[in-house]
Symmetry: C2
Subunit: 318 residues, 2 copies
């Protein structure tokens, strides 16, 4: 099977909007950007053995790569439009490609994100996806807009990614329903697209949590020229696994575990009450965990006392 | 050195236009697309040992990846704007990164293409670049617009890529100036951006020659629902090496060698005279090599007789 047949067989499905002038099959794709909006784009690479375990089912790889890439659009409050796929693999196996593309499109279709182009090459399994979305000019959420006194929130629960990895390597034992929950959280972490769009024009700063709360909140602080105080007792941790480990372990995973793909965002104090109401109405799930402060660094507290951790998140080549 | 420091150290140079709202350093890049134009994009991956030899100097890798990616924009007649870089490498070595980025920006700056974002990951050396350009709506050159009777042209010379690979593996011996020419053609094949823009609203179809003339002209024919007759005696072959090999070898490289990154395009007979004048004035270098015909397939002729070749171009997994 030749390179181009590969692409045609497995990757020319999924709905395409009128904004796709020319999709897969030429030297380039052509799209018509929505008039008067800024384009928002991000490219991410997943390498076998680094970002997902060897021998992971291709369906899960497909879902995970799409979820994690869309998470970057979520962090900007953007509306997804299109994606491209650069797929490097050792062997062109139909079964693998069929399942991988199934996982990819399951997530992409859910967020109306169309595949418009790509490249397939021979080599060690490496997957790069670039996602493209749009925002009204000036409304993108950025890391650098936080102000002293802003309240720090996170969407959903923290530590699920690290707990899932522990469960996968038999270092954490949970019941079957909790295991299923963790696998879904690891292989298909819902990109917080809706939450990001809801927070547009409200949040002063935002980032998605891929490398761990301390690491990613640290980047938000650094971009905003500020520091943070976090009350670790407030960290939202799932009931599915928190009672299976001691509190120190649970907090370590919530603080330092990567792969959560929740949003961490900051709100001015005046918006706390409106957000509380939105949370109450079920419009968004978000938990206040601390506040931005003038000095630098992320400081942790528990019951009013400084809280010590050793790990400092995940960094390639770190 | 952490992932983000890597990016900041080596990849935050090169000029940025007003169209870049937010560059490297956040979850996404933000760009303002030129009003009223369509966006054109392409992603390409280069794998060490597949698309360039092991131990290639990083400066050359950087130049080559940028040239080959921009060639896809050239084939559409697009104006380059921005690119993203997904870089997977085993070790983060400053010297390697410094030279690689130098090569990348040498070419990117030459074509006013700004780096707006990327991702660095640990793994076997794999480089994906996505380029973004624009065209006036409806003016992009495509593979599928050829008409029976259209004249087939190629820009520049053919076979340089294959001759360069032969020289690199000591299968072709040439003098130092010819060697330098071939190395430049292989590691920095000028993307035919100017030529592509010149051909916009003139050529009926176009493709860039990356997999060999027969393979790529075959794709143009297939997309146009047509076939081609090519006179191999007309194929432009560089004086730098053509007398060092027999005619059959020279023609094989010109027909089947990949990596030339010239444009193959078709013109209606009415535009042949204007193009001849443009060639005469030095506005474009282009050679007529045959014509499109109603039946399918690429047929080769030499002195009026059918010409046989065995190879059929380069195809990953093929």
């Amino acid at each position: 099977v030749g390179e181009f047949e590969l692409i045609n067989t497995f990757f020319t499905r999924g709905s395409k909007g009128d904004d796709v002038v020319l999709g897969i099959g030429d030297d380039c794709a052509i799209v018509r950007p929505p008039a008067g909006r800024d384009l928002v784009m991000s490219i991410d690479t997943l390498v076998e053995g680094v970002h997902f375990p060897h021998h992971t089912e291709p369906l899960k790889i497909g879902m995970r790569v799409m979820c994690t890439c869309l998470s970057d659009l979520a962090a900007m409050g953007a509306t997804p439009h299109w994606f491209t796929l650069a797929l490097t693999l050792l062997h062109a196996e139909s079964a693998w490609l069929s399942e991988f593309s199934e996982g990819l499109f399951q997530i992409a279709n859910q967020f109306q994100c169309s595949l418009i182009g790509g490249d397939t090459t021979k080599g060690p399994l490496t997957i790069s996806v670039q996602v493209h979305g749009s925002v009204a000019p000036g409304t993108a959420l950025k890391r650098g807009g936080g102000k002293p006194g802003d309240i720090i929130y996170v969407t959903g629960d923290l530590g699920d990614g690290a707990a899932a990895l522990a469960a996968l390597s038999n270092k954490l034992t949970v019941n079957p329903s909790a295991y299923a929950y963790l696998m879904k959280r690891f292989f298909a972490p819902t990109p917080r697209i809706q939450e990001g769009q809801f927070l547009s024009r409200k949040a002063t700063a935002a980032i998605d949590i891929s490398d761990g709360l301390i690491a990613d909140l640290g980047k938000l602080c650094s971009a905003s020229g500020l520091g943070a105080m976090v009350d670790v007792a407030r960290l939202p941790i799932s009931q599915h696994w928190r009672d299976q480990v001691n509190q120190e372990q649970a907090l370590d995973w919530a603080l330092n575990g990567g792969d959560d793909y929740q949003l961490c965002f900051t709100l001015p104090p005046t918006l706390v009450e409106p957000i509380n109401q939105a949370v109450h109405k079920g419009q968004i799930r978000a938990t206040p965990i601390g506040k931005l402060v003038p000095h630098s660094g992320v400081q942790l507290f528990h019951s009013g006392q400084p809280y010590q951790v050793t790990d400092h998140g995940y960094d390639h080549f770190g």
